[in-house]
Symmetry: C2
Subunit: 208 residues, 2 copies
DNA sequence: AAAGTAAATGAACACTGTTTAGTAAAAGCA
DNA sequence: TGCTTTTACTAAACAGTGTTCATTTACTTT
């Protein structure tokens, strides 16, 4: 049936259309401040139409998940393979931080917001994307261990430790909890990077 | 003027009354899900009245700041002084994590939300409370350094590193970003604590 | 008691996410 | 072709939100 096929295509096109408009607005003025009516206006449809393609606002958010993780995974994969594992780990950390600051709204969506997590019972399937990104870290930690770093720990535990630290650093900075102790914007940034270096040195000095 | 004095007192009482109701509701069902009308109902006044005492909803939130930090500072101060610095650091970390899980709404307010930061240009004065809590960590790190731990780093940098890690761990857990990799709730909790222990061991093994 | 002041109200404003009854166009079938 | 059914969409409504403001109520001062 050619008609059914076309309808299927059109439905998919509409979904993409909505998601593109939603993404543009979300990244432009934030999730909270973007209303369904804003999105409807952007695509020149009535608000109700959006609910024919997506369950609710959270599902809209959730559908940007994949794209967001692809972006991060791309960044984290793009590391010089010639580098030693421990140097690559440093670069990966910097890339992660860079991504977080260049895509604050996406980062929020991926690692901070509760809404998209509620949207689906995303136990295994859907967080494949997050898993893929985490695997990049895990793989690198594994290589580091073969070089004698973090050798006594389980890969997963060491990886989570690293992730937690960088995530904590990034969120404290972006949520303005470092500015308090600092005189200027640059000051809080250098302080953040100094702390990042302390963390790295701490890993390096523990070589077995 | 006795009358003016009484009026002043009554105004203050009203403020406290509103804040107490707000606190109860915020902690009970969350900041977002608590409306001004909810608070007004609780104190049996009209919604408009609240705006005679507070600029907006954010200011209401901001006024819980002091109390929240006092709570954390109290917890973090309550550590056996007989303990060695490095053991005390471990306990402090556990206390921090405990506080975060027992007071999720307060933790959010203190370290995650953007709203209260916008409410006031709280550069110095208001974050004194946050500073006081951070100082407890800094003091402990200083003592650890005298024992040879983290010896080569600046106190501030090492302290921020520790804070970032624990904060990251806590937020990843509370925002359900660990459940993805885990089979059960307990699993994600033990995993969190395993990562915490890795971090500690990493500090301990770096003794000079 | 009358005038003036301060406090509290409740309706209104401009929004929000979401649901639903009704409509117009397209598709399937005779 | 005409007729029915299906699909896509809309406009309006619902129940809420934070916030403002003219109006009323209560109290204080003259």
């Amino acid at each position: 049936m050619g008609v059914a096929d076309r309808k299927e295509r059109e439905k998919e096109e509409m979904k993409v259309k909505i998601l593109e408009a939603a993404k543009k607005l979300f990244l432009g003025k934030g999730f909270e401040k973007t209303s369904i009516r804003n999105i409807a206006d952007a695509i020149e449809y009535s608000p109700g139409t959006i609910y024919l393609y997506f369950k609710d606002k959270n599902e809209l958010l959730f559908n940007l998940h994949v794209e967001a993780f692809n972006g991060l995974t791309r960044e984290l994969s793009n590391i010089d393979p010639e580098l030693s594992p421990i140097d690559a780990l440093e670069v990966m950390g910097e890339q992660y931080i860079k991504f977080a600051f260049e895509n604050p709204e996406l980062y929020e969506l991926m690692f901070v917001m509760e809404a998209p997590m509620e949207s689906l019972e995303c136990k295994e399937e859907v967080w494949d994307d997050g898993m893929k990104a985490f695997d990049l870290l895990r793989f690198l930690v594994d290589r580091c261990q073969k070089d004698g770093y973090l050798a006594t720990y389980e890969v997963d535990d060491a990886s989570l430790m690293i992730w937690s630290f960088v995530h904590g650093l990034v969120t404290l900075k972006s949520r303005k909890r470092l500015d308090m102790f600092c005189d200027s914007e640059e000051d809080s940034l250098t302080r953040m990077m100094r702390s990042f270096n302390v963390f790295l040195k701490q890993i390096k000095c523990g070589k077995s």
